[in-house]
């Protein structure tokens, strides 16, 4: 047996200049990170305070860093596709078909699994415990395992660029094409194992947040007092727990087919490839709502705070969220109306798809009515929210069109569909996460992001979006199939060039995001958030300091209203000093999560390349670490009352120095209760 399995020197990307430069950028990027940490002498800090951390706020920040890196990588793929299609009329363009296919496959895989999912987990980690008045998530260690398994999946994604080739089967990996008969090699295996491994992490995140929201709320924080973001995370967790198993099963079966000669989805020998597609979308459609519900939650928070008004129709928003959660399991077949099930089956799923737009419509009206007669402040998060409202409705309308099976028969597999789902996911999901990123950034780091660059980024994103995707609707109506490497119809080219221009403008939006981060860090002294409540907020995460203390709340808050923090400010009980502090039990940092994640990544790599000895060793490390951890009853430490008091005293001293809130002149301002001086 060869110790390197099927890995040979030919797996390195020296067969093409473009592939080699992609690999070079990836390797250099990795070296640059290692170099930077070494240069700043930060290894000790990185190891002891970050990668071993079980603090939900740090885990959240690491998730979002991962998401931003992968956003960049996914965007590069998008830009390469747009460039190819802009020039490939009657010629081969600059990308060979095999490479083009890898790029559209990795673009979708990255954006869904390694950009959107980590971004969502990151925001939830950062904010949900603080919103419900909790000191941490229910299972801090499992949280760290989730992070590192997700990172292991993303790591395999990056490695696939350097060693071997990626899948050419699209982000959905439909058999029989993705079967070993038509697509030998490691590409599809890379895709399968990274999705499989990251999926375990996500399932654990779902369990973690459901228990956290159900069991760890502060006194008085009843379910119908939960902020909307927490509500949406609650339903998203339910969806994760019940939907991800279907993905695990579909991927697991395809792994068995490809590597061990099983016949789940093969053409002959009793395989049934439509079973894969059913299982995949049984996960895939709820996944759409897993991604978008938390974004809806962010919009609900942002629209209320920056309209300086109570959220309109709280109960209807909660009910709509629950309804969407339930209905999301009844529409999966609309992804393959053309499978040829009976007209009755198709019309059932078409009808359910139309119905699911109703609760979404309810939400849109609730947000509009929150803004109505509000005093709107056009900060970047609010701009993203308004941009979302306008643009998302257009995407929703094209979705209702596609929900009709006869129309779907005409449109399926065209760029009309591509335009539709980007029209949902970019304004719906990505704008929501970016709004959340800019809205909660001060909570994570203690200073605000530069607003000018945030605004520039917003305008680039929204203008770029329209120019990039509206032409794709037209192209779809002109009959252009998706995923074309080159084409012969001259009438398509102007639209594809327009779409390329749009992608370029979106790139400017991404650059603006990067500039915003750099400028904000450099000028952070001018934008410090000393109160912990920079936006005159309404929910409990604004009651903590920015960044929050390790325990979030020195004394657990008592909630008496749906807008807990706003209510405390109104009653003049905000920023009160407790009579005395108590000891707080905290989870100890541990490397076990990192070890499991790294071993998970090694296991995936070994399984992809058939290095079975290595795969079994990695598995043994995982099992050993779990047993070690499960036998360790000493995983907590006590932060004494005097340590807590020292941190809180510093916080109150800082509060006393805080300048006037920049929103203090707004008529809706609830006032900073003057903090009591330190004693």
């Amino acid at each position: 047996m060869d110790i390197f399995g099927r890995l040979t020197l030919e797996s390195l990307p020296f067969y093409s200049v473009i592939a080699a430069s992609g690999a070079a950028v990836t390797v250099l990027g990795g070296l640059a990170v290692v170099g930077a940490i070494t240069y700043f002498g930060a290894w000790r800090m990185v190891m002891t305070q970050w990668v071993s951390s079980v603090d939900h706020k740090k885990i959240g920040i690491m998730y979002i860093m991962l998401a931003l890196v992968m956003l960049l990588r996914g965007f590069v793929d998008a830009a390469m596709m747009r460039s190819q299609q802009a020039i490939a009329l009657n010629n081969e363009g600059y990308l060979p078909p095999d490479h083009f296919d890898q790029i559209f496959s990795s673009h979708g895989t990255i954006m869904i699994f390694f950009m959107a999912m980590p971004f969502l987990s990151g925001l939830a980690n950062l904010i949900v415990p603080q919103q419900i008045g909790s000191r941490d998530v229910a299972f801090p260690f499992m949280n760290s395992v989730s992070l590192w398994l997700t990172t292991a999946g993303a790591g395999l994604m990056l490695i696939s660029l350097v060693v071997g080739k990626f899948s050419t089967a699209g982000w959905t990996g439909y058999p029989p094409y993705s079967g070993v008969e038509y697509t030998p090699g490691v590409g599809v295996d890379y895709w399968l194992w990274m999705v499989f491994i990251a999926g375990f992490g996500t399932t654990m995140t779902g369990i973690n947040f459901l228990v956290t929201i159900f069991k760890c709320r502060a006194p008085g924080m009843t379910m119908f007092r939960l902020p909307l973001f927490t509500w949406t995370m609650f339903i998203t967790s339910v969806l994760i727990i019940f939907a991800f198993p279907a993905l695990t099963v579909a991927c697991g079966m395809l792994i068995l087919d490809r590597n061990f000669g099983f016949h789940f989805f093969t053409n002959g020998m009793g395989g049934n490839m439509m079973n894969y597609i059913n299982l995949f979308w049984l996960w895939g459609h709820p996944e759409v709502y897993i991604l978008i519900l938390p974004a809806f939650g962010v919009f609900s928070e942002v629209v209320s705070v920056f309209s300086q008004k109570r959220l309109f129709g709280y109960i209807s928003l909660v009910c709509a969220t629950i309804a969407i959660g339930l209905l999301s399991f009844t529409v999966w077949l609309h992804h393959f109306f053309t499978m040829g099930s009976s007209a009755r089956v198709n019309s059932f799923f078409g009808t359910m798809t139309t119905i699911i737009s109703v609760p979404t419509g309810v939400k849109v009206f609730d947000w509009l009515l929150t803004m109505y007669r509000g005093r709107i402040i056009f900060k970047p998060p609010m701009l993203f929210t308004i941009g979302f409202l306008v643009t998302f409705v257009i995407g929703g309308l094209s979705g209702v069109l596609l929900a009709l099976p006869p129309i779907d028969y005409m449109m399926h597999n065209t760029t009309f569909l591509v335009a539709h789902f980007h029209n949902m996911i970019i304004p719906g999901v990505l704008f929501g996460y970016l709004a959340g990123y800019m809205y909660w950034f001060p909570k994570a780091f203690g200073f605000k992001l530069n607003e000018r660059w945030g605004t520039i980024s917003f305008w680039c994103w929204i203008i770029g979006f329209y120019i990039a995707f509206m032409p794709l609707y037209v192209l779809g109506l002109l009959g252009m199939p998706r995923r074309m490497e080159h084409y012969e119809i001259a009438a398509w080219q102007p639209h594809l060039i327009a779409a390329w221009v749009g992608a370029f403008i979106i790139m400017l939006g991404l650059i603006a995001l990067a500039v915003q981060l750099v400028v904000s860090v450099r000028e952070r002294k001018q934008a410090l958030d000393l109160t912990g409540d920079p936006w005159n907020g309404r929910s409990l995460e604004w009651a903590t300091s920015s960044p929050a203390a390790p325990y979030n709340f020195a004394v657990l808050p008592k909630v008496e209203s749906r807008e807990a923090w706003w209510d405390m400010k109104q009653r003049g009980v905000a920023y009160r000093r407790p009579e005395k502090y108590e000891d707080i039990v905290m989870p100890k940092n541990t490397y076990a999560g990192l070890v499991i994640g790294v071993a998970g990544g090694v296991f995936g790599f070994a399984a992809i390349w058939w290095m079975w000895w290595l795969a079994f060793s990695a598995l043994a490390v995982i099992v050993g670490t779990i047993i070690y951890r499960a036998s360790d009853d000493d995983d907590e430490f006590v932060m004494t009352a005097s340590e807590v008091k020292a941190i809180e005293d510093a916080r109150f001293a800082q509060l006393a120095k805080a300048p006037k809130n920049e929103m203090a002149d707004e008529p809706g301002f609830a006032g900073e209760a003057a903090p009591e001086p330190a004693t």
């Binding site: 299972f139 399932t203 369990i207 099963v249 087919d257 020998m269 499960a630």
Partner: protein, 199 residues
């Protein structure tokens, strides 16, 4: 010998155990969906024999009955261990956990034998869609039972070295949930896979 009843668990720890139990229930529900997908796949593919053996040709009722008896009995013996746990009798807990382990291991031994026999006579998972689905469904259950066996060993070690402390007792409760859950899945496998295949 300490008894659970005399042990004072502080309210915070009690809350933590409750959270862990709830989280474990959620995991079981998620796992139940995995099995639901595998059952659905099996039912879709049970007729896809590709000219190879049919359920009637490959299943043996005797063996399935023996496997069922072993696993159901192991659930009962785990129940006895749980009773001993609440009475705080450490050596009895150890004894009944060991018996449960032996019953579970015998189940795996029989299942392994069944799989090996099938593969030897050319009815392995590569033969047809039906056999792929069968091996995956029953094999996934077997994999779970094997994980359960490792877990029982770990718990025997913990009870032996740590005694019946509150965290150990809380883990034993969740191991119980897991073990009984696998029993229920097996009952469904028996009724959906073996019985219709033979009758």
């Amino acid at each position: 010998m300490s008894s659970i009843a005399d042990m004072t668990i502080n309210p915070r720890d009690a809350e933590r155990y409750e959270e862990k139990d709830f989280g474990f229930w959620l995991y079981l529900m998620s796992d139940a969906v995995i099995f639901a997908c595998l059952f659905a796949t099996y039912l879709v593919m049970v007729g896809n024999t590709a000219g190879g053996p049919t359920p009637k040709d490959v299943f043996s009722l005797d063996r399935a009955a023996a496997e069922t008896a072993l696993l159901l009995l192991s659930s009962t013996t785990f129940g006895v261990a749980a009773v001993a746990l609440s009475a705080g009798e450490r050596s009895k807990v150890l004894l009944w956990l060991a018996i449960t382990f032996l019953l579970g291991a015998s189940f795996i031994f029989l299942e392994f034998g069944e799989f090996r026999g099938l593969i030897a006579e050319g009815a392995g998972p590569e033969r047809s869609g039906f056999l792929s689905a069968f091996f995956t469904l029953v094999g996934t259950h077997g994999l779970h039972v094997s994980v359960g066996l490792v877990w029982i060993l770990v718990m025997i070690g913990q009870v032996f070295f740590k005694g019946l402390t509150a965290p150990v007792a809380s883990r034993l409760m969740r191991l119980g949930l897991f073990w009984h859950f696998l029993d229920i899945i097996w009952v469904v496998i028996f009724s959906v896979v073996y019985l219709p295949g033979l009758v």
